[in-house]
Amino acid sequence: MEGTILKTENLKVSFGNTLVLKGINMEIPEKQVTAFMGPSGCGKTTFLRAINRMHDLTPEAKVEGIIKLHEDDVYKMDAMTLRRRVGMVFQRPNPFPTMSIQENVLAGFTLNGIKLKAQEKKEVVEDALKKVALWEEVKDKLTARSTSLSGGQQQRLCLARTVAMKPEIILLDEPTSALDPLSTSKIEDLLYELKGNYTLVIVTHNMQQAARISDVTSFFYLGELLEFDDTKKVFTNPKSEKTQNYITGRFG
C-alpha cells in the first residue's frame, strides 16, 4: 500500500452503555477509494462519523482510542479545522435550501468566513461543478434554488460543495442509497475520477458498488473489523468466513 493518510488505533465508540465499535485498527491509504461494507448496525457509519468528529454533536456518544490524520491527533485538533480537512457527503442529498446552486458550491467558504473575489468565485463554482459533472446541466441557472434540482443532481451538488473546499479526505456515507440507478452510476463514475486527487472513504450497503469503485475494502461485523485488504482479495479470497458468507449473499 502507498502512504497512509489516516490511522486509527483501538478506536472504540459507545452510545450510552452500548459499545458500537469495539476497538478498530485501520490504516486508510492516501488517494485511493476505501470502502466500508457490512450488514446494518455493524458500525461502519459510526466509524465514518468518528473520523470527522460528527459524534461531538451527540451528547451520549463517547469516542476512545486514537485517530491520526497524517501526524495530527484528530481528537486533539480543533473540530472546525479538522472538518475543513475532512469533508463529508451524506446519505440523503442535503443542499442548503435557502441558497442557490452557486451559493451552495461556495457555502464552505461563506460559512468559514473566507471572502472570495467575484472572479475567484466564478472559478471555484465552475471548477467544482465540472468535477462533479454538473456544470453542463446547471450553467444557465446557477442562481436557481438548489432544491429545484433532482435528487441525483442535488447529491452531485453536495459533492461539489465538499470538493470545492479541497479537503484531504472525503467521507461518503452511503451517498447513493437514496438515488435511482442512473444517478448512482453517475456518482460512481465521479468517485472513480476523483480518486486521483482525493482520498475517498465510502460506506456502502451495496457490495457491487464496493467491488466496482474501491481499491481497498473493509468488512465490519458487529462492531469489529473482520476484513481489511485489497478489494480484489476481499472479494475473491476473504480471510473470514463471515465475509465470505456476506459476499455470497448468505446473510446481510
Binding site: R83, G87, F90, P97, L111
Partner: protein
C-alpha cells in the same frame, strides 16, 4: 348474520354522519361568532373614524371632537421597544431549546416558558411597577415596554423552537461538516431556513401584546398629551379604550369605538402579513 351486520353498518354510518355535521357545525358556529364581533366593531368604529381621530389630541371633557393620535404613537412606541427587547431574548431561548431537546435544563426552561404564558398580565404589571416604576421614580413608556416584552417572550420562543426543530438535522450536519462554527451554522443556515416561522412568532407576539391594557395601568400609565420621551408616561390604544368606554360621555364612547377599530385593524393586518410571509418564505427541503 347478514341482517345484524347490516343494521350495525347503518347505525355506524348514521353516527359517522352525525359526528361530521357536529364537527363542521361547531366550527362554523365559532367562525360566525368571530365574524359577528368583527362586524359589530367595524360598524360601530367606522362611524367614529375621521381625520381628527388620527391627527388630534384628546379634547377635555365638555368639548366635542378630538382624537387619539397620542395613543396611536404611544402604542407603536410601546410595541416597538418591547419587540427590540423581546425578540433577541426570545429567539435565543428558542435556539437553545431546539438545540438541547431532551436535556434536563431545556425541559426546565420549557416549563418556565409555559408558566410565563399562564401568568396573568396584571400580575406582571404589578411586578414591573415594583421593580422598575418605583425605583425609577415614575411611570414611563419604558416600564410599559418591559412588561409587554415579557409577555411577548412565550410566543416568540415557542415559534422559534418549533420552526427550528422542523429543520432536518442533516442540514445542520452539512454545515458543521464543512467546518462551519456553531455560530455561523445558526446565523447563516438555521435562522434563514426558519425565518418564516420565526418572523411569524414575532408578529403573533406583537399582536398579542398590542391590545393589553391591564399591565399598562401600572407602568405606561396613560397620558392625555403627546409624548415621545421613553422615560415619561405614554398613552396607548387599549388604555384609551378602557378610560373612554368606562366614562359617562357619549362623545368619548364614540372615540373608544374608533380606538377599538384601529386596534383590531392593526392586529388583523399583522395576522395577514404573517400568513403572507410564512407562505412566501416557506422553505422546501
Amino acid at each position: 348474520m347478514e341482517a345484524i351486520s347490516d343494521r350495525g353498518i347503518k347505525r355506524r354510518k348514521f353516527k359517522d354522519k352525525l359526528f361530521r355535521y357536529l364537527v363542521s357545525g361547531l366550527t362554523y358556529c365559532c367562525l360566525a361568532i368571530v365574524f359577528v364581533i368583527l362586524f359589530y366593531i367595524f360598524k360601530k368604529g367606522i362611524g367614529s373614524l375621521n381625520w381628527a381621530i388620527f391627527s388630534q389630541l384628546p379634547k377635555p371633557v365638555g368639548e366635542t371632537g378630538g382624537g387619539v393620535v397620542n395613543a396611536i404613537v404611544g402604542t407603536l412606541m410601546l410595541v416597538s421597544v418591547a419587540s427590540i427587547i423581546a425578540i433577541p431574548f426570545g429567539v435565543s431561548v428558542g435556539i437553545y431549546l431546539a438545540d438541547n431537546r431532551g436535556r434536563k435544563m431545556a425541559g426546565r426552561v420549557s416549563l418556565a416558558v409555559d408558566m410565563l404564558q399562564g401568568v396573568p398580565s396584571i400580575v406582571l404589571g404589578i411586578i414591573i411597577y415594583l421593580w422598575v416604576v418605583k425605583p425609577m421614580g415614575g411611570f414611563s413608556a419604558l416600564s410599559g415596554s418591559i412588561v409587554l416584552s415579557i409577555m411577548m417572550l412565550p410566543p416568540v420562543i415557542k415559534n422559534t423552537e418549533e420552526t427550528l426543530v422542523l429543520i432536518p438535522n442533516t442540514i445542520k450536519e452539512a454545515s458543521l461538516a464543512l467546518g462551519a462554527s456553531y455560530f455561523r451554522t445558526t446565523m447563516k443556515i438555521l435562522l434563514p431556513t426558519g425565518i418564516g416561522g420565526i418572523f411569524g412568532g414575532c408578529i403573533l407576539g406583537i399582536a398579542r401584546v398590542a391590545g393589553e391594557a391591564a399591565p399598562l395601568l401600572f407602568t405606561a400609565f396613560g397620558n392625555p398629551y403627546m409624548n415621545y420621551n421613553i422615560l415619561k408616561p405614554v398613552n396607548s390604544l387599549p388604555l384609551v379604550l378602557f378610560n373612554y368606554a368606562s366614562s359617562p360621555y357619549d362623545d368619548w364612547h364614540k372615540i373608544a369605538w374608533g380606538a377599538t377599530f384601529i386596534l383590531v385593524s392593526m392586529v388583523l393586518i399583522l395576522n395577514i402579513i404573517v400568513k403572507y410571509f410564512e407562505n412566501r418564505w416557506k422553505v422546501q427541503f
